[in-house]
Amino acid sequence: MRVRRLAAWTALPLAVTLGLAACGSGGSGGKSDPNAAVRIEIAEPQHLVPTNTNETSGSQVLAALFSPLVDYDEANKPHEVAAESVTSSDNKVWTIKLKPGYTFHNGEKVTADNYLDAWNYGAYAPNGQNSSYFFEKIAGYEDLQGEKPKAKTLTGLKKVDDLTFTVTLSAPYVDFKSMLGYTAFYPLPKAAFSAPGVLAEGYEQAPIGQGPFKMKGSWQHDAKVEVEKYDAFPGQQPKVRGVEFRIYQQMTAAYADVLSDNLDVIKEIPTENLSTAATDLGDRFRQSPASSLQVLAFPTFQKEFSKPEVRKAISMAIDRDEITKSIFKGSQQPARSFVSPVVAGYREDTIGAAGEFDPAKAKAMYEAAGGPKKIELSYNGDGGHKDWIDATCNQLKANLGVECVGTAEPKFADLLTKLKQKQPVGMFRMGWVMDYPSMENYLGPLYSTNGSSNYYGYSNPEFDKLLAEGASAPTQDEAIKKYQAAEDLLAEDMPVIPLRYGQNNFGHSTKVKNVEVDLFDRVDLLKIEAVK
């Protein structure tokens, strides 16, 4: 869960000292104090309604208040949490059985209706929910769209009994179970609605969930959101009494607070502090894999970039290792595949020879294919991308003998607007953060003909077909095979050049231990402990 806006910012040229103990749980000394509260940094959430929350700060708070149907294990495969079982025989009709004993913080029992109400509310277009597209795979979604939708509820959702309901998808989708771990799929209590389908005024100020923590007071805008342990929670109990999510506008302020033990966890250490973080925090400076992938994309609809040979030659002329080492100081990793290593089905070096740095071969290939004499690299100027774009440009100049300029657009939105109008912006940077751990999430939205983020004009019927086959495959393993075949097609066509995988660079105070940040940039609230 994330905002792609954040993705753009995390990919800053970083200067981290190398050779850190990355995985040890820092500050493991000291006894755990179950009666202490921990303080975690967030930005002001945009919303605190599950179906309206699609950025990391809001989803971090909701992760405390709600318990998801499924969560992800070490290999990022889903396992049941609030659900007893999630099963399907044909990947089209899914039966979800809930664990008994869950209650909302106001005492209401959690039933299948709570899920149906919440999802119907989220999918109904006039409610304007940010995450409504998560429900688009469910049958009947189309009827809830438009200004005056035909229906108010999804035909694909059916209650069986109090703890069981079925979800019928409009087409088979093998990764549906993985999707259920996302924030949008939390249930809402009856108390959240003032009338059927109408969210009660003020619910967002103090959301009632069924998770391990309940609200303590209400959301204090720009200041903090406090939660405390919910004793009637039947699942795994947290090891702290409560959490204070403290709202920061600038990460540097949060970093100063962590240094002086005024704050316990900072989820993203600001760029300017990364060079000193290792000395400032010692083993309390930590890194963990993140799902983000940074690429340079081609407008394949433009004539000069229409040949795959040109695109491959440019890829071969870029020395990824050098850039990640000298500009990012190891805070990101070089990428040579179209999917991130954090999902099942990832293979190393799927782009093959195109990922090997070989200036001589690249130049010969580039000239043979008649690549353009001048290359433009467009990027958003607000995300700290200038350094690596300039470095890439210099490499292209030296290795291909072309002219190269980096062009900054004020914001990423400006770049997207130009791309939508098919204006010639040259090559451009893109970042991607996954919605849920699945190979499909790195392929479908980005490269399928009607993909929501396909800005390159890439269209390959064979690729679309393989993705559709993968989605309707009977098992996840078979789906992965189809997706991998689709990824191989991308490697042949190279609509984008994969450059780097992201990492979470986080830090914590001396007052906490067992701090872990998951792939969605959320602190694991069930693991974190306070130190006495």
Binding site: Q46, Q249, T252, A254, K411, L416, T417, P445
Partner: protein, 312 residues
């Protein structure tokens, strides 16, 4: 006097509408795609786009659309409704929460400026070319040369993190002590200017004819300085401080960000970053009022300080 104030108040109404029109126009012209800016780099669904477009009349573009939206805004404003930010919060509520803390910060900064700046300025003016005068000259040059964007993090790092004299950030409900460091940082720039201004003014007035006359009449030096010189010297300083009060309230963007104080500057910064037009215009409209009122107060104070100035 009464007629003067009345005339000024009427002028303020015009100035207010003029500035809001300009600010609204600038925000309108500079707006790329606020819906996309709100969502960051993720694609926006058609449903979400339609919902926000309708709610904020974002489909009304061009000159006609501009005036439609501006008058719509004004209509609500006159009813006391500042509208909603793009994230759906009442801007009135945001401001109500943000103002007290910003005012507190500005008053601390103002107090620092007046107490240290004016006092040191008077001393430096009396002992012109002395050690005190020269050292304050160097110090103020230094402070004037360092922008807040450098000064604030430096102060935070050394005084807050390294030596732990002050809390490094103030947070939402800060006590006076937590606001002291940000207040000093915020006030330091105006402190330097106020000091230089007072010093020059005092030094100049000390050489004026009336001082020589007073001295030759045998008045004690203290009385000459505190009653005659100070009163005359303060006119330019008061002008400066009046304008500065407005600056302190709006110009705390950097300081409030560095010390994590959720005041007006903090919200203004977020509004600009996320292209939240209604929020920016709402905040700026209130800031305009603050400026206008503080300028009026300055003008009235002139008459109090200088009997030769009469408003008729």
């Amino acid at each position: 006097m009464f007629r003067f104030i009345l005339r000024r108040l009427l002028q303020m109404v015009l100035a207010f509408f003029g500035t809001t029109l300009i600010v609204y126009a600038l925000m309108f012209a500079g707006q790329g795609d606020p819906i996309q800016a709100l969502a960051g780099e993720r694609p926006v669904t058609a449903a979400q786009r339609a919902y926000l477009t309708e709610k904020y009349h974002l489909d009304a573009t061009g000159v006609g659309g501009f005036f439609y939206r501006y008058f719509d805004y004004l209509k609500n404003l006159l009813r006391g409704d500042l509208g909603q930010s793009l994230t759906g919060r009442q801007i009135g509520d945001i401001l109500a929460a943000a103002w007290p803390v910003t005012v507190k910060l500005a008053l601390i900064a103002m107090a620092v400026t007046v107490v240290f700046g004016v006092t040191a300025g008077v001393i430096a003016g009396i002992r012109r070319a002395g050690v005190f005068d020269n050292s304050t000259l160097v110090l103020t040059l230094l402070v004037l040369g360092i922008p807040t964007i450098v000064l604030a993090p430096l102060a935070q790092y050394f005084l807050g993190v390294k030596w732990q004299l002050f809390p490094p950030t103030a947070g939402a409900e800060p006590d006076l002590y937590a606001l002291l460091l940000p207040g000093i940082v915020l006030g330091s720039l105006s402190l330097a200017t106020a000091l230089r201004l007072t010093r020059t003014s005092v030094a100049e007035n000390l050489r004026a004819d009336y001082v020589r006359t007073a001295r030759s009449k045998g008045l004690v030096k203290r009385r000459i300085v505190s009653v005659h010189v100070l009163r005359n010297s303060l006119i330019p300083v008061v002008t400066f401080l009046g304008v500065e009060l407005g600056n302190l309230m709006s110009g705390a963007i950097i300081t409030e960000g560095v010390f994590n104080i959720p005041g007006v500057g903090f919200n203004l910064f977020r509004g600009i970053r996320t292209e939240d037009g209604p929020l920016v215009v709402g905040i700026v409209s209130v800031l305009v009022v603050v400026y206008l009122v503080s300028n009026l107060v300055v003008d009235v104070l002139y008459a109090v300080l200088d009997p030769r100035i009469r408003y008729e």
